[in-house]
C-alpha cells in the first residue's frame, strides 16, 4: 500500500505540489491525471525517492520513505518521463546491468532478463543497441527494466507517450496484465487510457488533488449525485408522472415532437434505478430509454482543471 501524507514540494518559490494526501491500496491500477505542470511528475519523482519532499511523508508498504530509501528502491519499478536510457548499451547488456544493480545474480538474473524481455516483446531486439531502437521498443525496454526484479509497485510516467495506436494498445494490455499482481500508479494525458486501464483515478491540478476515487464512480458524477434519464412515448400524462417521479428526487421534464424526457437528480446514496424501474412496471409507462447519466472523463477533467 502507498500512503502519502500532506506532501508538499517546492522549487525555490514555486510550489509544484501542495499538501497532497492519498492512499493507494495494494493490487490497484491508479491513473494520475492532470494538465501539464500540475505536479504529476514531481509527485512520482518523490514517490520513487528521486526527489525529497519539502514537507510531508511517504509510506510504502508500511515503510517510511526517508528512513528506508534503499529498501523501498528494491520494492519499486519506475518508468521515468521521456524514457531515459543508456543508448550505447544493447538491450540485453542494459537489462543485465540493471538486474545486477537491483541485486539479482546468476541464473536468477538471466531468467529475470529473459522473462522481462519476453513479457515486453523485446526478444527480437535483445542484441540491438538501445540507441538504434524505435520509440516503441525503447518504451518496452524501459518497462522491462522497471519489472525486471518483480517489484510489488510500479510507477509509470506517461507509459504510452509517443507510441502509435497499435503500440499504445499493446502497452495498455501489458499494464493491465501486470496490474493483476502489482500495484501500479501511472500518469497519463490520455483520458481514454485512464478509463480503460485504471481501477481508480486521481486528478491533480496546480499541485492540489481535485478529485480521487473509483473510475466508474467518478465518471458517474461522483457518489454525491445521481442523474437518471427516462424517455417515454407521449401517450401519458407528463405532469402526473413528473409528480410521482419527484418521490425519487428532483425531477425535470421536457418534451420533443415524439417523446417526453424526465430527468431525476438525487442525492441519495443507494442506487435509485431499481425503484424507478419498479415504478415504470407498476404504472405501465411506455419507456423508450432509461439510463443513468455519466459524464465523459474529458468533461470531468475539463470541469476540474480549467
Amino acid at each position: 500500500m502507498i500512503r502519502i501524507e500532506k506532501l508538499t514540494r517546492k522549487y525555490g518559490n514555486l510550489t509544484a505540489v501542495e499538501n497532497v494526501s492519498f492512499e493507494i491500496p495494494s493490487g490497484k491500477i491508479v491513473g494520475f491525471l492532470g494538465p501539464n505542470g500540475a505536479g504529476k511528475t514531481t509527485t512520482l519523482k518523490m514517490l520513487t525517492g528521486f526527489l525529497a519532499p519539502t514537507e510531508g511523508n511517504i509510506v510504502i508498504s508500511g515503510l517510511d520513505m526517508e528512513n528506508n530509501l534503499s529498501t523501498i528502491k528494491n520494492m519499486i519499478g519506475y518508468l521515468p518521463e521521456d524514457n531515459p536510457l543508456y543508448e550505447d548499451m544493447t538491450v540485453f547488456d542494459y537489462l543485465l546491468w540493471s538486474g545486477k544493480l537491483k541485486g539479482l545474480k546468476g541464473q536468477k538474473l538471466i531468467d529475470a532478463v529473459k522473462n522481462s524481455a519476453e513479457v515486453c516483446g523485446l526478444s527480437e531486439v535483445i542484441t540491438k543497441l538501445i540507441g538504434h531502437l524505435s520509440k516503441g521498443y525503447r518504451q518496452r525496454t524501459a518497462i522491462a527494466n522497471a519489472i525486471l526484479h518483480n517489484p510489488v509497485i510500479l510507477f509509470l510516467d506517461e507509459p504510452t507517450s509517443g507510441l502509435d495506436p497499435n503500440q499504445a494498445h499493446q502497452m495498455r494490455k501489458l499494464i493491465k496484465s501486470l496490474g493483476k499482481e502489482k500495484t501500479i500508479m501511472l500518469s497519463t494525458h490520455i483520458l481514454t487510457e485512464a478509463k480503460e486501464v485504471c481501477d481508480e483515478i486521481i486528478i491533480i491540478n496546480k499541485g492540489k488533488i481535485v478529485a480521487k476515487g473509483d473510475t466508474e464512480m467518478l465518471l458517474s458524477g461522483g457518489e454525491k449525485e445521481q442523474k437518471i434519464i427516462l424517455i417515454t412515448e407521449k401517450n401519458l400524462n407528463p405532469e402526473e408522472v413528473k409528480q410521482k417521479l419527484s418521490d425519487f428526487g428532483k425531477c425535470a421534464f421536457s418534451k420533443t415532437e415524439n417523446e417526453y424526457k424526465f430527468t431525476i437528480e438525487t442525492q441519495k446514496k443507494e442506487d435509485v434505478r431499481k425503484n424507478i424501474f419498479n415504478f415504470i412496471i407498476e404504472h405501465k409507462i411506455p419507456v423508450l430509454e432509461f439510463k443513468k447519466e455519466t459524464i465523459s472523463l474529458e468533461e470531468l477533467f475539463r470541469k476540474l482543471t480549467l
Partner: protein, 255 residues
C-alpha cells in the same frame, strides 16, 4: 577472535561486500563506456603524442636523455586532458536524464561517485602506464634513478586523482559537457598557477600559496622525496572535491 566478535563483524563484512558489489557493477559499466568509445582513445593518443614530443625533443636536439622534461610538462597537459576525460561523468547523466534511472536504482551516491572517478582514473592509469616507455627507453641508453622515476609517477598519479576529482565536481554542477570542461580546466589551472606565483605575492601569502598550489608538492615527489604532507595534500584536496560532488548530488534531491 572469539565467536562473539565474529558474530558482530559478520553483518558489517556482508554490508561492505554488498557495497563493493554495487561499486564494481557501476565501475565496470563506466569503464566499458570509456573503452568502447573513440573519444577516450583520441584523448589518450593526443596526450601520448604531445608528451612524446616533449620527451623526445631534448634527446634529439640537446643530446640529453632525461625524464624530467616529461615529468614537468605532464601536469600542464593534464590540466587539459583530465577535464576532457571527466567532463561527461555526471553532466551526461543530467543531460540524457539517465541520472533518474541511476539514482532510483538501489545504489548510493558515494557508490556512484567513487565508481565514476575510479573508471576515469583507470583510463588515465592506462595512459600513464603507456608513458612508462619513456623512462624504460632511457634506462636502455644509460643509468636512470628508477626510485626517482617511480616517485615522479606517484606524483603524476596523485595529480591525476586531484584533477580527476575536480573534473568530476565540475561535471556535477552542469548538464553541459563543454561548460563542465571549462570549469574543470579553470579550477585545475588555478591550483596549478597558485604554486607558480609565490614570488609575486606578499610575504605572508607565500607559504599559503605554496601549500595550496600543486607545484611544490609535485616538485618534491619529482625529486624522489616522499613527504607525507604532500600525500596528505593530494588526498585531502581530492577528498574535498569528491565531498562537494557528493553534496551537489545529495542536495539535488531537495533543491
Amino acid at each position: 577472535m572469539n565467536k562473539e566478535e565474529i558474530k558482530n563483524i559478520a553483518p558489517k563484512m556482508e554490508s561492505l561486500k554488498l557495497w563493493l558489489d554495487k561499486f564494481v557493477i557501476l565501475y565496470a559499466k563506466e569503464t566499458a563506456h570509456y573503452f568502447y568509445t573513440p573519444s577516450a582513445y583520441v584523448v589518450t593518443v593526443v596526450f601520448l603524442l604531445i608528451s612524446g614530443y616533449f620527451f623526445a625533443t631534448p634527446i634529439f636536439l640537446q643530446n640529453q636523455a632525461n625524464i624530467s622534461t616529461f615529468l614537468s610538462i605532464a601536469p600542464l597537459l593534464f590540466i587539459f586532458f583530465i577535464p576532457a576525460i571527466t567532463m561527461r561523468l555526471i553532466a551526461e547523466e543530467y543531460k540524457s536524464k539517465t541520472i533518474e534511472i541511476l539514482l532510483t536504482n538501489p545504489v548510493t551516491v558515494p557508490q556512484v561517485i567513487t565508481a565514476k572517478l575510479a573508471s576515469a582514473m583507470t583510463l588515465i592509469a592506462v595512459t600513464l602506464a603507456l608513458t612508462l616507455i619513456y623512462p624504460l627507453s632511457i634506462s636502455l641508453l644509460g643509468n636512470l634513478d628508477m626510485g626517482a622515476v617511480w616517485c615522479g609517477y606517484l606524483g603524476l598519479a596523485l595529480t591525476c586523482l586531484l584533477y580527476g576529482s575536480i573534473g568530476m565536481f565540475a561535471s556535477s554542477i552542469t548538464k553541459n559537457q563543454i561548460t563542465a570542461f571549462i570549469i574543470g580546466f579553470m579550477l585545475c589551472f588555478i591550483l596549478f598557477v597558485t604554486g607558480k606565483i609565490t614570488s609575486f605575492v606578499p610575504g605572508w601569502l607565500v607559504n599559503i600559496t605554496n601549500f595550496l598550489g600543486t607545484d611544490s608538492h609535485l616538485d618534491n615527489l619529482s625529486r624522489g622525496i616522499i613527504d607525507s604532507r604532500d600525500i596528505i595534500y593530494y588526498l585531502t584536496v581530492s577528498g574535498f572535491f569528491m565531498f562537494l560532488t557528493y553534496v551537489k548530488l545529495i542536495t539535488s534531491r531537495t533543491d
